[in-house]
């Protein structure tokens, strides 16, 4: 399999009044084509920031200070960092799209579902829409059903296709008889949106399309968000804890939906979660993050059967199991303003060596496809 996305030594810092928050510290991650990669970790360990960095949408006062994010584009590899904003706009939502944690927050309360999903199409699929409209008009002319303004309408669609900012369109859009082309586009859009909502297994999409976000239940709102993300058939889908606020039964529905859609659309998925159960069900590979860096990457079977990094071990042990004592990792997640020197886990690690407090471990491959960042396995014991 080819690598679709490659993150190399990504460093992200937030400059706040309290000090510099070292949110991401040399994150290394690769995502292969067609796979589902789980990104696991506790709150504040930088999972979401990694996701936002991929879209180059880091909120201020955050600054990406180093590293590369390569995305495969045909034969070339393209570094997303350092690209201009208009280019990034084309990528976002089209090639890479994202599902957020709280669907209610990310839906605009004053627009209907139709408006919000069509926005994605208008941004990225305007050409296809215009061509569809032209085809429809041609069909009407052929069958003789077309009105007297059909030719004009067609020319407007062509204009929109070739030069969307032309003054002619501006004028025509304001005159009731002449802005017919707009209504035709809306009709086509509606059909497309209903179709995609149907794919999201929403019951009665014709009705849901005209609803406002407050009328939707949590599960439905999440499906609408998924629909929006998949509208343009992206190559990479980033799902940032999409089921954390949902009930278990609804969570299962959404997970199944994501699984079937993945087969259908063939997207790669970066699935961010803190629930190891969800990882076991959905992902092929897992990356474990702690305090701003990825500490272990391996296949899902490998991680659960043979976790190597002390943090991964602790994380797996802290899953409650009936009849056993609750185990937990001692201490708390360190503040990222003054992170521990050396390995960031060393002050909570039961196996910490002297070297751990001094130097940062490097990412090494201990077994095939099993990467780990820990001094216990690098051999520099002194």
């Amino acid at each position: 399999m080819k690598d679709l996305l490659e993150i190399e030594d990504l460093v992200l810092k937030f400059y706040t009044y309290e000090g510099v928050v070292e949110a991401l510290d040399e994150v290394n991650l690769t995502l292969k084509e067609g796979e589902t990669l789980g990104l696991v970790g506790e709150t504040g360990c930088g999972k979401s920031m990694t996701a936002l960095s991929i879209l180059v949408l880091v909120p201020s006062p955050g600054k990406i200070e180093g590293g590369h994010i390569f995305i495969e584009q045909g034969e070339k590899r393209l570094d997303l960092l350092g690209q201009k904003e208009p280019f990034l706009r084309k990528i976002r939502g089209d090639e890479i799209s994202m599902i957020f944690q709280e669907p209610r927050v990310y839906l605009n309360p004053v627009y209907t579902v139709l408006d919000q999903i069509s926005e994605v199409y208008m941004q990225h699929r305007l050409k296809e829409l215009c061509q569809m409209a032209i085809k429809e008009i041609d069909n009407e002319i052929e069958s003789g059903k077309a009105g007297s303004l059909a030719e004009f309408e067609k020319s407007m669609c062509r204009e929109l296709l070739e030069n969307p900012t032309s003054p002619m369109l501006e004028i025509a859009a304001r005159i009731p008889i002449l802005n017919r082309y707009k209504r035709r586009l809306k009709r086509i859009l509606r059909k497309e949106v209903v179709e995609i909502l149907k794919n999201m297994e929403i019951a009665d999409p014709e009705r849901v399309v005209d609803m406002y976000p407050h009328e939707l239940s949590g599960g439905m709102a999440q499906r609408v968000i998924v629909a929006m993300a998949l509208a343009c058939n992206p190559r990479l889908l980033i799902a940032d804890e999409p089921t954390t606020n949902l009930d278990v039964t609804v969570q299962l529905q959404i997970l199944n939906l994501i699984r079937t859609l993945k087969k259908k659309y063939g997207s790669s998925i970066l699935y961010i979660t803190h629930d190891m159960g969800v990882v076991a069900e959905l992902c092929q590979r897992v990356a474990v993050m702690y305090a701003g860096s990825v500490c272990e990457i391996a296949g899902v079977m490998e991680i659960f059967k043979d976790p190597l990094h002390p943090y991964t071990k602790g994380l797996l042990e802290s899953i409650p199991q009936p009849g056993k004592e609750f185990k937990s990792i001692e201490g708390t997640v360190p503040s990222l303003i003054n992170p521990p020197t050396g390995c960031r886990f060393h002050d909570r690690c039961p196996y910490a060596l002297e070297v751990c407090a001094k130097t940062k471990p490097k990412m090494i491959e201990v077994k095939k496809d099993h990467f780990i960042k820990c001094h216990l396995f690098t051999g520099d014991q002194e």
């Binding site: 709150t43 069900e281 659960f304 937990s328 708390t332």
Partner: protein
């Protein structure tokens, strides 16, 4: 084991008002006819999806909400409970029953009598960031119940506060701090200390671990277990995370749309769930084991609105094993032996 709390036909309806005169136009039946028995010293788990009335039930039992019907007996002698049950079934209007209820029924207590009872029961809320006053020092937050209940003041109160904080794993130095200076797990510890400082017998834990991380969650659960052993507490553990409830509870009740649909001992319920809803709910837990492939029932749709619950069995529109009777008749909780109760027409 003795019974600590027994509810009978407990109801809590919220009025939906509308129009200019704010008249009642509908009712949300958040808790509808719930009868449960919590034994002394046990941890009683309550699970269900959001909006099914778990929290309302917890709050109603400790009388933070006034029930619209039914009775709650707190720490009444067992002979009396038997007598009450007999009277309620045979002669619901008798004088003796009224007398007994006046003496023991928490649902009709008022004023100082209720305040006196509140000392015995406390609650820990879901999110400590909102349940702790951001402008109160830890010592004031934790010490307030002592003052309200007129248990201790001044130096004595402070001594008790420090003692309690140490018990929940905080230090004496931290009493002069504000909640924002603590991490999520520590905040929840403060909330626990506040609940336990008056030495209650019964504590409602309303999703106490849902706002903290996995590694901290285990620490908190250990704390709850330790405190229960040390102080002889009885818990009502409300959660939507079924795997935690499995680990901490002795008995579990499954709630759906304001009704208890099944309850049994924990091992019994998790090994052998009978109600179709309980089966689906348990099957929906993601298991952290990638080798496991399961056949499971996936529920379609979502929880219906409790304003207009479906007729008959409330679960019938989503039930995979629905029958004709389910649409008409509401099933009652039936004892299938071995302390396993199910409300379903299949049994």
């Amino acid at each position: 084991m003795n019974t600590l709390i027994k509810t009978h036909g407990l109801k809590k309806y919220y009025a939906v008002t509308g129009g200019v005169l704010k008249r009642k136009i509908a009712e949300v039946k958040a808790v509808d006819d719930v009868s449960i028995e919590i034994k002394k010293g046990e941890c009683f788990g309550l699970v269900g999806e959001s909006g099914c009335g778990k929290t309302t039930l917890g709050k109603t039992i400790i009388r933070l909400l006034k029930p619209n019907g039914g009775s709650i007996f707190f720490d009444a002698p067992s002979e009396l409970l038997e007598e009450v049950e007999k009277l309620e079934n045979n002669d619901p209007d008798s004088k003796r029953l009224k007398e007994l209820r006046k003496q023991y029924d928490l649902s009709i207590f008022r004023g100082s009598k209720l305040r006196h009872m509140r000392r015995k029961m406390q609650i820990v809320y879901q999110d400590p960031t909102t349940s702790l006053d951001p402008r109160m020092l830890v010592k004031d937050t934790v010490g307030e119940p002592l003052i309200v209940q007129k248990i201790a003041k001044g130096a004595e109160a402070r001594k008790r506060v420090v003692e309690m904080l140490k018990k929940v794993g905080l230090t004496e130095k931290q009493v002069y701090r504000f909640p924002h200076e603590f991490s999520g797990g520590q905040r929840q510890r403060i909330a626990v200390a506040r609940a336990l400082v008056v030495h209650p017998e019964f504590v409602v834990l309303d999703e106490p671990t849902s706002s903290v991380d996995v590694s901290v969650r285990a620490q908190l659960l250990n704390l709850f277990k330790e405190l229960q052993k040390d102080l002889g507490l009885t818990y009502l553990f409300i959660s939507h995370d079924l795997s935690i409830v499995e680990c901490i509870s002795d008995r579990v009740a499954v709630m759906y749309l304001g009704k208890i649909v099944e309850f049994a001992r924990t091992e019994e319920l998790y090994k052998n769930p009978l109600h179709p809803y309980a089966i689906a709910l348990l099957a929906a837990i993601p298991v952290p084991d990638p080798t496991l492939k399961r056949e499971r029932v996936i529920l379609t749709g979502e929880v219906p609105s409790p304003i207009n619950p479906p007729l008959g069995c409330r679960f019938h529109p989503r039930c995979p094993k629905v029958m004709e009777t389910c649409r008409r008749e509401e099933p009652r909780l039936r004892d299938l032996g071995n302390g396993h109760f199910v409300a379903c027409h299949l049994f």
